[in-house]
């Protein structure tokens, strides 16, 4: 496929000396690293200058030189640079990225502005006509675009494909400019570029206000007669004199060792003749034509693709036909990937059924092919293609997962780890729920080690899939200190009936580093009102009071203990507030005792009766200012809440 310019130096008339930036060796491979630009915009320094390194992103997005001797030329240049930059940006960004949107906006503004300016001032009445040269675009004799790097250059891409003139008329619409960008972007970014080029794409577009003049212009450098058939892959610009010689089928005249002409009886026998019928011009109903037209639109493509595979599979199955799996395995992959990217799950399942039906002919091959329908890549594509409004995995996806063998759980875990959109994560999680029982231990390991939000999702899935083993999931999560995971642990615990194991889990959560989690745990503990928890919560408070604690937490402890066991709590609090032993009252102030008293005041605040008031008042008269304030606030609240004031 000889579509791009080779040996540009041999252009007739000579090529202006290239003024390029010095060659710089890239520092690494392609993945986002440094590249060398060996041909830069005009105006750079040739040879001997300091080396310049830039990332691939910088390389692709760096704007071409601003050229143009007049204001109009500069505006056209701006429009063309926007066009080129936008087309190149698809090499870096996903088409739906916000960055693309910005480039589109700029392109629209620059290009429409340029066309209007150029066609309203009387200079160019009908449109902007650009002459396409290998590295330049010329308008009205002036260079309005210049870029010599073949990989970056808009002019080069067009010239290579045979475009020699591009005219954008005054009445051009935004849709047409967008389509022009689309065509150029495809040519910039596609790797398997065999089907179409800019000229054929532009023709297909059927523009009303954009015209091109195109040639095919490759000739062999050596003009000696070549006995070989000219390699297909390029349009040879054969002139009249070159075509004068009839194409002989002299077998000696061609170099290929194995040359076979089309059989003389091609397409024969013809179908048996039928009696002649009358013919007449009859208008065809518009509805019939409409139906024909619909068949030729892209909407039919999924069904046609599956049908082609089905037909080729039938040939593979036919013992008289030489078609084998090697001939069609790539087709199956390509159709599969197309259906995946379009979210066409129903035809995808048909395709699977068709392929499966031939398993007997080559089980290993079929299994390899089928594996690609639910591997990580496929699963990701399916999940991404599901509309955001959908809350459940589509039945076709579940069908695939149930039917086809593979490490589906691993793939689902990977999808969940990678996808960021809430919709994709929701679906991913539900898929994990479905598959989890295949290897719960693996999921537990992921809960313990994956990134926090992923681990939280997995814990939720675990509890949903294996409710009887929820505590195992909580255990795996409890060792972590990220709020996401711990809150999820609390959520799943909330759904469980009280038991010693649940108690253990909750108490364990009281020791996390995240205060908010501890507070919510205390809330949940209080909500359970289980006296069994009293001693353990008390012990935890006593231990933690010596470390970091806040007033909020101490209060929560106080409240919780009273709820769990009022009588014992009241006795304990009384001892903390006003120890019976005089010695303790006077001299004992162990570290942490302040927080214990704080908790005690909060707890006693919930105990009705004058005795509680007296106790709190007693402490208020003796405590430090903060604790005293806490006592006074508690007393004030009690007064407010007391019936009859």
């Amino acid at each position: 496929m000889l579509r791009f310019g080779m040996a540009d130096k041999l252009l007739q008339g000579g090529e202006p000396a290239e003024i390029g930036r010095p060659t710089v060796p890239p520092l690494a491979g392609d993945g986002g690293a440094v590249v060398a630009s060996t041909e830069g915009a005009a105006g750079g320094v040739a040879g001997g200058a300091a080396e310049i390194a830039e990332s691939r992103e910088e390389f692709l997005l760096r704007e071409e030189a601003a050229v143009g001797g007049t204001d109009l030329a500069r505006r056209i240049n701006a429009g063309l640079r926007s066009l080129a930059r936008s087309a190149r940006s698809f090499l870096l960004y996903d088409p739906r990225n916000e960055a693309i949107r910005l480039f589109l906006d700029q392109y629209r503004s620059d290009m429409m502005g340029a066309i209007q300016a150029a066609t309203s001032g009387g200079v160019t009445a009908e449109g902007v006509e650009l002459v396409v040269r290998p590295f330049e675009l010329v308008w009205n004799g002036e260079i309005v675009y210049l870029e010599r790097d073949r990989e970056r250059s808009l002019a080069f891409r067009m010239f290579r494909d045979g475009v020699r003139r591009l005219t954008i008329q005054r009445q051009v619409e935004w849709d047409e400019l967008l389509r022009l960008l689309q065509i150029l972007s495809i040519r910039f970014t596609g790797v398997r570029q065999q089907e179409e080029d800019i000229v054929t794409l532009l023709w297909k577009a059927g523009f009303k206000h954009i015209d091109i003049v195109a040639v095919e212009g490759f000739t062999p450098e050596d003009d000696e007669a070549d006995d070989e058939p000219v390699a297909a892959g390029h349009m040879v610009g054969l002139g009249e004199e070159e075509l004068r010689q009839p194409r002989g089928r002299d077998e000696a005249g061609h170099g290929a060792a194995a040359f076979i002409d089309a059989p003389l009886d091609f397409d024969l026998p013809i179908p048996p003749p039928l009696a002649l019928a009358r013919i007449a011009p009859v208008p065809v109903p518009p509805a019939d034509l409409e139906a024909i037209q619909q068949e030729a639109t892209s909407r039919a493509l999924p069904e046609l693709s599956v049908r082609l595979v089905r037909e080729m599979l039938a040939l593979v199955a036919d013992p008289h036909d030489p078609t084998d799996w090697n001939d069609i395995s790539y087709l199956i992959e390509e159709v599969r990937d197309f259906l995946l990217s379009e979210g066409q799950l129903e035809p995808l399942t048909s395709l699977v059924s068709d392929v499966e039906a031939l398993r007997g002919s080559d089980p290993e091959r079929v299994d390899t092919i089928l594996h690609g329908f639910v591997d990580g890549r496929a699963l990701r594509r399916i999940v991404r293609s599901i509309p955001a409004a959908h809350t459940r995995p589509p039945p076709e996806l579940l069908w695939l997962l149930d039917r086809l063998p593979g490490n589906h759980l691993d793939h689902a875990l990977a999808v969940l780890a990678e996808e960021r959109s809430p919709a994709a994560r929701r679906i991913g999680r539900q898929v994990v729920v479905r598959l989890l029982s295949r290897d719960p231990e693996k999921v537990l390991r992921h809960i313990a080690s994956d990134e926090a939000s992923v681990a939280a999702d997995l814990l939720r899935a675990f509890a949903e899939a294996l409710p009887a083993r929820t505590l195992a999931g909580v255990d795996a999560a409890a060792g972590r200190n990220e709020p996401d995971v711990l809150f999820e642990a609390l959520r799943v615990l909330e759904r469980l009936e009280s038991s010693p194991e649940v108690a253990d889990a909750l108490v364990r959560l009281l020791d996390t580093d995240v205060e908010e989690v501890r507070l919510r745990t205390l809330e949940q503990v209080a909500g359970r009102r289980s006296g069994r928890l009293y001693a353990r919560v008390l012990e935890t408070l006593q231990r933690r009071a010596h470390g970091t604690m806040t007033a909020v937490e101490a209060e929560a402890y106080g409240h919780t203990l009273i709820v769990l066991d009022r009588n014992h709590a009241a006795l304990t609090f009384e001892e903390w507030i006003r120890p019976r032993s005089l010695f303790k009252r006077v001299f004992h102030d162990p570290i942490g005792h302040n927080w214990l008293q704080w908790a005690a005041v909060s707890g006693m605040g919930l105990v009705p009766g004058e005795d509680a008031d007296k106790m709190i008042r007693w402490l208020a008269e003796r405590a430090g200012s903060e604790l005293a304030q806490h006592c006074m606030k508690t007393l004030a609240r009690r007064r407010r809440e007391r019936p009859n004031g």
Partner: protein, 475 residues
């Protein structure tokens, strides 16, 4: 969703919609191409160039049967195998100091890796690039590399090396010469397009494509697509296009005619420009199944092998699809034309289901030409239409067939008629309107006093006068 209330909101909405449309179009156009594909091609391409350059360089100092060549040859084969698996056909071209693998530029950390020098090495034999259409054997690669050794061991030219490779059965590697852009005179060439030249070029490309496919190469649709675009641009009904181009093979002529009938039919149905172009290309490829070899045996050592034979009629359709599917990459046009090649001889009421729209169109175009051509039914064009009309609903889609009848007219192009005034005329136009359906534009071949015109045949518009008394059977 609330309606946009301000110009800014409106513009923003338009931009969102524009981005959505663009994204959808690009995603579909690049279906199957992960963003990683280009990176992988770059990496593997880098490896390919490095190995190839290294091997060619080694021929300057070592004999090719030296053990030192073995490992890099094996690695080179493995790399090509990777790339063929991804791309289908691998093109490696050196342009000045740059190297491209399938349009992806390969960059190098330092000059010692060979990027810049590969071109120089290839130019020793006047080679601008290489294409691999399938995974080569190590022996074939050795032979290729050996070609760069000094004569008498090495080859003396690109052509000689290509012959050596072909003789050894390495017909899936293609050596390209150095090319240049044609610049001078092209403007004039574009302006003065001659329909006959267009037709000859089209059949020439068909024949070249045939040659390529015979050589087990991957189909390259681009040249044929260009040819179709040229025909469409000029108008498929142009006078000069109706005569078989001089020097065209029977196969090439048939292919071109089927293409043009199909284009007419598609146009008459109101298909989009996109669909018409794709259909034209499908028509150009519809009989490539005959290029497939059955029973082919590659050459091996002293065994010259066997070129194989074209498939019989019953299998040529399937063979055509098989050949077309050598091309890698998902594309709507490829799917449609492979299906069309497969189904284009099926009846409309085939028990396997109604054939695809392209196949049904090609069936009509193909049968019409096969009924008319000399080696086929040898019927007159008008009689062919009437014979086909009898098959409406069974062999042929009745709607499409009626459109075809409407478009071709009572006297399709090529019909030879005798008029009431004894002039012999040949139709050169399809139906220009329902009113002139049976009164085409013609060229007078014999005038009313028996004078035969061999050239500069006068035009006669039957819409202006003249009536047909009989059709003349020529064969």
């Amino acid at each position: 969703m609330a309606e946009p209330s301000s110009p800014a909101e409106l513009a923003s909405g338009e931009l969102d919609s524009a981005q959505d449309r663009l994204a959808g179009a690009l995603e579909r156009a690049r279906a199957g191409e992960d963003r990683e594909l280009a990176a992988v091609v770059r990496d593997e391409g880098h490896q390919l160039v490095r190995l190839l350059f290294g091997l060619l360089r080694m021929t300057r100092v070592h004999a090719v049967d030296n053990e030192a060549f073995e490992k890099p040859l094996v690695e080179l084969r493995a790399t090509i195998e990777q790339l063929v698996g991804l791309l289908g056909v691998v093109h490696c071209f050196a342009v000045e100091d740059q190297v491209y693998v399938n349009d992806v530029r390969i960059r190098f950390q330092d000059r010692a890796e060979g990027g810049a020098e590969l071109g120089g090495e290839l130019r020793r034999l006047g080679i601008g690039g290489l294409s691999w259409h399938a995974v080569p054997e190590v022996e074939h690669l050795r032979l290729l590399v050996r070609g760069f050794a000094k004569p008498p061991v090495g080859a003396v030219s690109r052509q000689a090396l290509q012959l050596q490779l072909a003789s050894a059965g390495a017909d899936n590697v293609e050596l390209h010469g150095l090319f240049r852009f044609r610049v001078s005179g092209e403007e004039e060439k574009v302006e003065a397009q001659d329909s006959r030249l267009v037709a000859r070029r089209a059949t020439s490309v068909v024949d070249e494509t045939w040659d390529s496919l015979i050589g087990n190469r991957v189909p390259n649709p681009l040249p044929l697509r260009r040819a179709v675009t040229e025909i469409l641009h000029m108008g498929p009904g142009l006078d000069g296009l109706w005569q078989d181009p001089r020097g065209a093979s029977a196969f090439g002529g048939h292919t071109l005619r089927v293409c043009r009938y199909a284009l007419f039919l598609a146009s008459g149905c109101g298909l989009s420009d996109e669909a018409i172009q794709d259909l034209g290309l499908a028509a150009m490829f519809h009989d490539v199944g005959y290029a497939a070899h059955e029973g082919a045996q590659p050459a091996h050592g002293k065994d010259p092998g066997h070129p194989g034979y074209p498939p019989p009629y019953e299998r040529h359709a399937g063979a055509g699809a098989r050949v077309l599917l050598r091309q890698r990459g998902f594309h709507e046009a490829k799917i449609r034309r492979a299906l069309a090649a497969l189904e284009h001889h099926r009846d409309f009421n085939d028990p396997r289901g109604k054939p695809s729209i392209f196949a049904r169109i090609l069936r009509i175009a193909e049968d019409f030409d096969n009924l008319v051509r000399r080696k086929g039914g040898r019927m007159t064009p008008a009689a062919s239409l009437r014979a086909m009309a009898a098959g409406a609903g069974v062999r042929y889609d009745p709607v499409l067939l009626q459109v075809f009848v409407n478009v071709m007219g009572a006297w399709p192009p090529g019909s030879l008629m005798e008029l009431a005034d004894r002039r012999i005329v040949r139709s050169i136009s399809t139906a220009r309107s329902p009113e002139t359906w049976s009164r085409p534009l013609c060229r007078v071949e014999v005038d009313d006093n028996g004078t035969r015109y061999l050239q500069d045949q006068p035009l006669l518009d039957l819409a202006q006068g003249g009536s047909v008394v009989r059709e003349i059977v020529e064969h």
